[in-house]
Every structure is written in structure tokens, then in C-alpha cells.
């Protein structure tokens, strides 16, 4: 069983009114921003399940946007996220999809466009008490929480890529807490997700990039 900290009981410090519909939504937005390397200029949120039904009353819309703008869960600017988005030059819209039944009732799809025109989709679930899971990146199912330092490698599904990644981690003396591989199909795009208790050294990025099948690397530090 994971260690439950005193600050998971007395905490999180958060803008109300709901840990799952507000604080969790901020965290999903924040993770999406961290996964997207460019400055976000446009963002569309598609809300499903309970999020689609009750998002206004819980400020889920402002919370998601606030997260994408880089605000923490206890940042009062979340309340005025719409005007902050305008000031920061970010266009936003919301789609409430009440038809689709997601795996988890609090699910959102975030589609971002960057200043250079790059697009990215990130799907997240708010699983209770402010905790979250990222469940999809660009249409490929993944699973990680962001509670650990997380390395996400976008690669072509070819032999030896995963060995290369674990070798690099071993060279940098990183202890792997969890590692999972997700793929679109045989020989197509795949994602390796590695979670570690410690900080993952930035130098590892250059080393991993040496493999010709590695397309993109994202590193989220705790």
C-alpha cells in the first residue's frame, strides 16, 4: 500500500468547491500543459460523464483552463481563469458530451494547439480527492498519475527501443518505480512511460534520443 501522507488528509490546499471536480481538474490541465512543449494558443475541452453534467456549478471549466495556464490548485486566479486566458492570449472552448459513456465519470479530453501550429490531445480522469490519471495521449491509451517523476517516450514500435531506454536509465542510476508500454499497433507509434521516485536527470534526454526510433521525449519532474 502507498504511504498516505498527513497532507493527503489535511490537504490539498485548493480553490473550491470540489476536490474531484475542481482541484483534480486543475491538475489534469496542468499535466496537459507539461506534456505539451509549445506555448498553448488554443485549447478545446471535451467533457464527459459527471464533468459534462455539473461542470459549471463546480467551476470545472475554470479549473481546467487555469491548469492549462499553469496555475496551481490553490491559485485564486482560477476563479478568473477566463479573463486570464484572454490576457495571456489563449483561446478556449468547451464541449459537453453527454452521450458518450467514459470508463470513469470524471473524464476530459484536452486538445491543444501551439504557437507553431502543433496539436496535441491529452485525456485525463479525476479519480477522487484531487488525484488524477492521464489516460490518453494523441489517441493512444496510456496510464500514469504525475505523482512520480515521469518519462514519456514517443517511439516507433521496433525491437530494442525499450532496452535502449532502460539501459539509459540504468546508466543514470535511475530506479524505476513503474514502467509500461502502450502502442497504437504493431510497428506503429508507441509510448513508453517510466515513473520514478526520484528526479530523473535531464541529461538522460540526449542519451535516449540517440536511438533512431525515438521520436519525442517528455519529462515531468515531481
Amino acid at each position: 500500500m502507498n504511504f498516505i501522507s498527513a497532507f493527503e488528509v489535511i490537504g490539498p490546499n485548493m480553490v473550491g468547491p470540489s476536490s474531484s471536480h475542481t482541484a483534480g481538474a486543475v491538475s489534469i490541465g496542468k499535466m496537459a500543459r507539461k506534456l505539451f512543449k509549445e506555448k498553448v494558443t488554443e485549447v478545446t475541452f471535451t467533457l464527459y460523464g459527471s464533468f459534462a453534467r455539473t461542470y459549471k456549478g463546480h467551476g470545472t471549466d475554470r479549473a481546467l483552463l487555469g491548469g492549462v495556464l499553469g496555475f496551481e490548485t490553490d491559485d485564486l486566479r482560477i476563479r478568473d481563469a477566463f479573463s486570464w486566458a484572454e490576457k495571456m492570449g489563449v483561446k478556449y472552448q468547451y464541449i459537453a458530451d453527454k452521450e458518450f459513456v467514459p470508463d470513469h465519470p470524471n473524464t476530459v479530453d484536452i486538445r491543444m494547439t501551439g504557437e507553431n501550429g502543433t496539436k496535441m490531445q491529452v485525456q485525463g480522469q479525476s479519480i477522487g480527492g484531487g488525484k488524477i490519471k492521464i489516460t490518453q495521449i494523441n489517441g493512444i491509451n496510456v496510464e500514469f498519475t504525475g505523482e512520480y517523476s515521469t518519462l514519456v517516450v514517443k517511439q516507433i514500435d521496433k525491437p530494442g527501443v525499450v532496452t535502449h531506454i532502460t539501459q539509459c536509465l540504468s546508466n543514470q542510476n535511475v530506479n524505476i518505480a513503474f514502467m509500461r508500454l502502450f502502442r497504437e499497433g504493431k510497428g506503429k507509434t508507441a509510448y513508453s512511460v517510466v515513473e520514478s521516485d526520484e528526479r530523473i536527470p535531464d541529461e538522460i534526454l540526449e542519451e535516449i534520443r540517440q536511438n533512431p526510433y525515438v521520436q519525442e521525449i517528455l519529462l515531468i519532474q515531481i
Binding site: F7, I10, P12, N13, V15, G16, T22
Partner: protein, 289 residues
Amino acid sequence: MTDFKNGQELLEVCKKTQCSISEVMKQREIEGTSSTKKEVEDKMRKALAIMKEAVRKPLEDPKPSMSGLIGGEAKQITGYRENGKNVCGTFMNKLIAYSMAVLEVNASMGVIVAAPTAGSSGVVPGVLLALQEEKGFTDEQMVDALFHTAAIGYLMMRNASVAGAEAGCQAEVGAASAMAAAAVTELMGGTPQMCLQAAAMAISNLLGLVCDPVAGLVEVPCQSRNAVGAVNAVTCAEITLSGVVYPIPFDEMVDAMYKVGKSIPFELRETAIGGCAGTPTGCGMRCRI
């Protein structure tokens, strides 16, 4: 490492180390997160500062909630006391007003500390801050008291649930009330054993409480239930400190709460279908928002 997985083990650690529950919990946090004493205390001081602000704000500058269902109640209740003819006396009136104030801040997208949840975030600060004013406790004692509440909440989180969607309001306001009851008992000189007795009694008093928010929002009846959780907490501390013993152990009450929670029907677990939410007035309020 200092750790415990139920109330019985917590009492054994307290006995062995001759420490209070708050000291044991603080030590567990230091060791479990590889932090210094100062780091964990500073973090808890920040939580205390947010709680104080959340209690104070609505008394001076009340704001309506996002939906407009609540807002201004804490100030009104305080005003009633200041007229000098209130029913509950100063301390109880403050408990009620302070715990409800935090829910106003929460519902208007202000900053609060989930304790253990946002929906039950008024109980612990309401009780502790009213008691601090009444008895003159220092902020350091309040920080320790918050570690104490965290110990009780951790055990309920670990061995049952603190989610209304899973186990009803008894798991939210009920848990917060047990946390506060135990902390008050320690602050007022009770032994670790007495603290757990007060917590067990607090759980038993709110056993079976359903989660039925009108329009699915953390406003009605959540706000006044936080006041009830606060009053229940000091009631249980008062009974226990007088020497009256609640006979069922804390661990057994936590199990019972979880079992009762599992048998609460779906309509009464944060779905906004039954209970207060399902009344004609509750449904009408939903339509108007």
C-alpha cells in the same frame, strides 16, 4: 519506521514512545517523506493560515456561491450572537459560524484546505479555531492538533473511505467530526486512548448519514452539516473528558462505518438523486440554477 495501520497500533506506539498522537503522526510524516521537522511543520502552518483566512473572510466580506444557493450565513449567525440573546452561547455559536464560513469560501471558489475533503472542510477549522479563541491555545498547539486530526483521518482513509460517493456523508463530515473530536480531547489533556474513544463516539453519532447535495453542488445541505459535525465533535470530547467511556473501540467503529457506507443506496451517495436533492424543493432549485 514509525507507523501504524489501525487505532490499536497507534495506541501501542504512543505507549511505547510516551508520545501523544500528534507527536507520533508528525514523526511518521518526517520519516515517511524523508523531510525535516521544520519542513513538515511549515507545511502544516501554511494549512493553518489558509484555514484562518477561510474562517475570517466570510465574516467580513461574504460572497455568494457560484450558484447563488448559499452565501452570508456565517455573518448572519455571528450577528445573531452579537445581539446577545442567542441560544447556544458564544463558543457554540462560533463553532457553527466558523465551520459554515469555510463552506462559503469553498462554494465561491476561494481557497480552502480539504480536511479530509472539500465538502467537509469546515469542521476541523471551525472546531479548532473557535477553541483556540476560547482557551487561548498557541498556533504551535494548533499545528500539532492538525497533525492529530491527520492521524485519525489517515486511519479512516486507509481502513474505510472518506469519499461521499463511496460511503456517504458519514465518511466526509463524519470523518472530519471524528478527527476534530480526537484533537480536542488531546488539546484538553485527554490520553491517546480517550482521543480514540471520542473519535469512535463521533463516528457512531453520524453513522449512516447520506450524501445528497442539492443540484450536485457542495452547498445545501453540506454547509449546515459541517456545523453539526463541529458541534458533534466537541460534544463527544466533552463526554469523554468527563470520564464517560464510549464502549466500542475506534477500529470497530471505522469498520462499521465502512460497512454501513457500502450498504447506502446509489441514490444517496453524491449522485444528487435522493434525500435533500430529491425533494420537490431540491429538484426545483436544481432547475433554477
